[in-house]
């Protein structure tokens, strides 16, 4: 199952660091191609989490005792590591959240408080529900309107329509960096530049990009960048909202509670500084530390080399899948990441996914939390194979053979 043909990439050694990759499912070696939903975890991340609970567990930020200070130091080291990894100017620009959904909801509420009736928010037709619904709620609450950048049949944003949607009323543009369903890599640099010309701020939903490419928020010049820990080889229940300091300072707190205050009196409460202003209550301390370990792990790898390998996997998968009769790719953008979404004439995605599962192959089927996108393509859902750098060419072969077998049964 191991392919070491990609130059310089020691897949065998990489795979050996992910315990779940050697699992068996239904008596077969697991072929894990559901990385768009969540990634598997390297041993260093698992160890960092259990080490925290065994040796460092205490509540952070307010304890004078040794263990609390240790825990605080580990948690803040993780923040600084993430700050450096994404190229943020200050560590307080990195807010810990519960994940991408938590990050976007924080922004939609807090930034939303600065909006007035008639202001406009722009999203795109390929957004995940978590980058649609929070903005719909903001629009409802504040009397703003939501505009949607359309896509073409290949699954690329219509940039001319975007230009036409931008106006002096646009306050925020929230687009995904990479579509979780189509794999399209959006021209975010251009999107950000165009929004800034109109004085609007930009949120990039990086849930599907940070694990696939180097990210530098200052080079991108995005105002906000959201991602989940669990999709980038870290623990579940932790994520990040990066925001430019001057914007975060301007925004009101979202949730009230401990840690986010400077002084509480019944007459008036004043709020803590960044990042604490946005981090009420005891956070997911172990998760934050585990996420720090995930980025430390990634620092030891060559992201550009991993990207090339993932591209090869996806390209090979697309070629092989298209040899089977009735297979149609959904998402054929020129710029694509290692997501291969497809439908097969005469076979329902759910049936395909169920049979592949029996063969030990984990793919995702359904609408991938992008129902408007399914409506656009007029399909009930797709089968999605999403690759990570630890996947192999042989696993692609297993997928294709498995699909062939499933289709013989179904059609």
């Amino acid at each position: 199952m191991i392919n070491t043909t990609s130059k310089g990439l020691d897949l065998e050694s990489i795979r050996s660091q992910f315990p779940a990759l050697s699992l068996e499912v239904h008596g077969k070696s697991l072929v894990y191609l559901d990385n768009g939903a969540t990634s598997q975890k390297p041993k260093v991340v698992i160890d960092a989490v259990s080490h925290f609970y065994e040796k460092e567990n205490a509540n952070i930020h307010r304890g004078v005792h040794h263990l609390s200070q240790e825990a605080t130091a580990r948690y803040e080291e993780a923040r600084t590591r993430i700050q450096k990894y994404i190229g943020a100017a200050h560590s307080e620009e990195v807010l810990f959240t519960s994940g991408t959904t938590g990050s976007i909801n924080l922004l939609a509420f807090s930034f939303g408080e600065l909006l007035k009736p008639g202001d406009e928010i722009i999203i795109s037709a390929m957004e995940h529900h978590s980058n649609i619904v929070p903005w719909q709620m903001t629009c409802e609450r504040k009397g703003c309107s939501l505009k949607v950048i359309p896509i073409n049949q290949a699954g690329e944003l219509e940039m001319e329509s975007y230009a036409a949607l931008l106006s002096d009323k646009t306050r925020l543009v929230a687009v995904t960096h990479i579509s979780n369903t189509l794999g399209t890599i959006n021209p975010v640099q251009k999107i950000i530049e165009m929004a800034h010309e109109k004085g609007a701020v930009v949120l990039i939903d990086g849930a599907q990009s940070i694990q696939h490419m180097p990210i530098n928020v200052r080079e991108l010049d995005c105002d906000f960048f959201a991602f989940s820990g669990h999709k980038v080889f870290g623990p579940t229940g932790v994520g990040v909202l990066y925001g430019k300091k001057e914007l975060l300072d301007e925004m009101p707190p979202w949730q009230g509670g401990g840690d986010m205050i400077a002084k509480v009196t019944f007459a008036k409460t004043t709020y803590n500084e960044l990042p604490h202003k946005f981090e009420a209550g005891t956070p997911n301390i172990a998760g934050g530390i585990g996420l720090g370990a995930a980025f430390e792990f990634l620092e030891g790898l060559d992201m550009n080399e991993l990207m090339r390998h993932e591209q090869q996997l996806a390209q090979y998968a697309e070629e092989q899948l298209l040899r089977l009769p009735g297979v149609r790719l959904i998402g054929e953008a020129k710029e694509k990441t290692s997501v291969v979404s497809f439908v097969v004439d005469g076979a329902h995605p759910f049936d395909i996914g169920t049979l592949l599962d029996k063969m030990g192959i984990a793919v995702r089927t359904g609408h991938h939390c992008t129902q408007p996108l399914m409506d656009f393509y007029n399909i009930p859902g797709t089968v999605r194979a999403s690759f990570a750098f630890y996947n192999t060419m042989e696993e692609v072969d297993v997928l294709v053979a498995g699909l062939e077998r499933a289709l013989r049964m179904l059609i």
Binding site: H26, A347, H348, P349, F350, D351, G353, T354, L355, K358, T365, G366, H367, P380, G381, M409, L410
Partner: protein, 138 residues
């Protein structure tokens, strides 16, 4: 046949399959064979939206017996619907309301009736039972 005997006959049929492949081939064939619901009855009020597959259920009470027809856009779901209907159709509302559909577990398909599976089947069985309870109360 009583509801219990019908369940047992399905368990016996499935006993001959020694691997998942044969079992699913059989379910798929069931799904292909059964035109379970008329097209004009596939209306939104009969639709149960699962995250993965869609299920339509139509319920009638005739001469003190429950009559079910149902359908799905996914063939495996449809095959399992065929099995559920074989057991539950033409039974009294009292029998349906208290029925323990243990055969699904015994033939190793319980995952399909788990609420987490989101294929609409768990909601379908719930709706069948609710309609039986409604028939009892009327």
């Amino acid at each position: 046949m009583t509801l219990e005997e019908k369940q047992q006959s399905i368990i016996d049929e499935f006993a001959i399959f020694d691997d998942w492949m044969d079992k699913y081939e059989y379910i798929i064939d069931l799904g292909k064979e059964l035109p379970l619901i008329e097209e004009d009855k596939k209306t939104s009020d009969r639709l149960i939206e699962g995250c993965q597959s869609r299920v339509w259920l139509d319920t009638e009470v005739k001469d003190g017996k429950m009559h079910f027809t149902a359908d799905s856009d996914a063939i495996i779901t449809k095959g399992i619907i065929g099995l559920l209907i074989r057991v539950m159709d033409q039974e009294s509302p009292e029998t349906i309301a208290t029925a323990d559909m243990h055969f699904i577990q015994e033939i190793g398909l319980q995952e399909h009736l788990s609420p987490t599976r989101a294929n609409g089947l768990a909601s379908m069985v719930k709706k069948m039972k609710m309609s039986a309870l409604k028939a009892i109360s009327e």
